[in-house]
Symmetry: C2
Subunit: 240 residues, 2 copies
Amino acid sequence: MKRYGDAVTALDLSGPDAAVDSLAAVRSQAPRTSLTEWVADALREEVVEGRLRPGSRLPEQRICTALKVSRNTVREAMSQLVAERVLVREPHRGVFVARPDRAAIRDVYRARRVIEVGVVRDAELDSERLEAVRAAVEEGQGALAGGEWDDLASANQHFHRALVALAGSPRLDQQMALLLAEMRLVFHGMSGVRGFHEPYLAGNARIHELLESGNRAAAADAVVEYLREAEEHLLAGYPE
Amino acid sequence: MKRYGDAVTALDLSGPDAAVDSLAAVRSQAPRTSLTEWVADALREEVVEGRLRPGSRLPEQRICTALKVSRNTVREAMSQLVAERVLVREPHRGVFVARPDRAAIRDVYRARRVIEVGVVRDAELDSERLEAVRAAVEEGQGALAGGEWDDLASANQHFHRALVALAGSPRLDQQMALLLAEMRLVFHGMSGVRGFHEPYLAGNARIHELLESGNRAAAADAVVEYLREAEEHLLAGYPE
DNA sequence: GCATATTTGTCCGTATGTATA
DNA sequence: CTATACATACGGACAAATATG
């Protein structure tokens, strides 16, 4: 029987497809409930962390040898990830890392406007959850001071995740996580993302202040404006 | 000592032969894209149509013989449906039709309040999409006149789907479809659903009127009240 | 346009661990 | 506790679709 946690095999994928080379050292992760789940988690993380870039092809055989699992296991994991829209399958051609187009970006922002604004305007506030929003604001300010752009991007995502978490709904949280994962794909697929998030730090702080002071309507309006600006800003530099 | 859920279904997973009839008909429909997709669609439909009841166990082997496909194909399809939350997997025990508990119901309504209210309050109105809302209202009135409770339930779902569709966002539509699928599981898992939807017909019509007249805020408030009433009404008669 | 190699889609057999009777 | 059924995972096989030279 196979034990999931052992045997850190530094797999070298020295092949023509350099896309999945990053899967090395993933084997060291803790065992999951099932191998399939473990493979899905590994691939998902590679994608959201940007080590597997949008549009990359994921040949089954290569994943098999890389992760040392059977093809069936890989295919099951991929079925999951396709259902999560992390990967897309082109019949008889293979699975690829999703590559959002401009319409996808517009739609993501449309959905975010409904969800985030809906939460800010109507959700029941909880001081503990509001504290998480404040923490995300500070995290962003710290990242700006540290000059780490990746941390700033993460902090921004944490802020919006915390906003939606105000509603206290696991289902909304999951949906938001999906939308934010798609946003990471967008960022990974473009070039000039270095300073993208910086202008929005002030907006984050202002939204938090308005929430803290109980001015829900103004906070909601600020979120709307924030998202419209970000969408326009993003589309302006997005190819295709 | 744990009891499996009753697996009595239209797919007839209990008997070796009785399934042949329904399956011959189903099997005759040529697989659209892939066999896996076809199996996933078939199982999904069985669930949302209520022929596979919440809590039912889906043994792989029976599905295989019933649909005449291999275990690999079935497992791939199930991985998809688990990711969609239509099915739930209990490790080493099997896959079951999801059975929402009271907390799930509360969360579904929490999410619906954010999404539906957010759309009604802020989405850009489109006369064509608003017309679809009106059509759903009339569909419900027709179902009431016809005395078909199933049609009435469907019409109600169409109404709320049309509401969310006002936003014109495929991602929100998909999320709403998931939430409504979960609602169907709730209805299929309880007994006294016959007249559940009838009291809400008037609310549907009123919400549509308010939208038509451009009174977004009042429409949003009506949706909030609607959803709170429905949630309370539903939880009052829900077991566990 | 054609022949060939590669990859996917699907099936089968089998081994092993886990849960339940 | 033992026995049985089943989920999990592996590896091999082959046709069909696709990519490649």
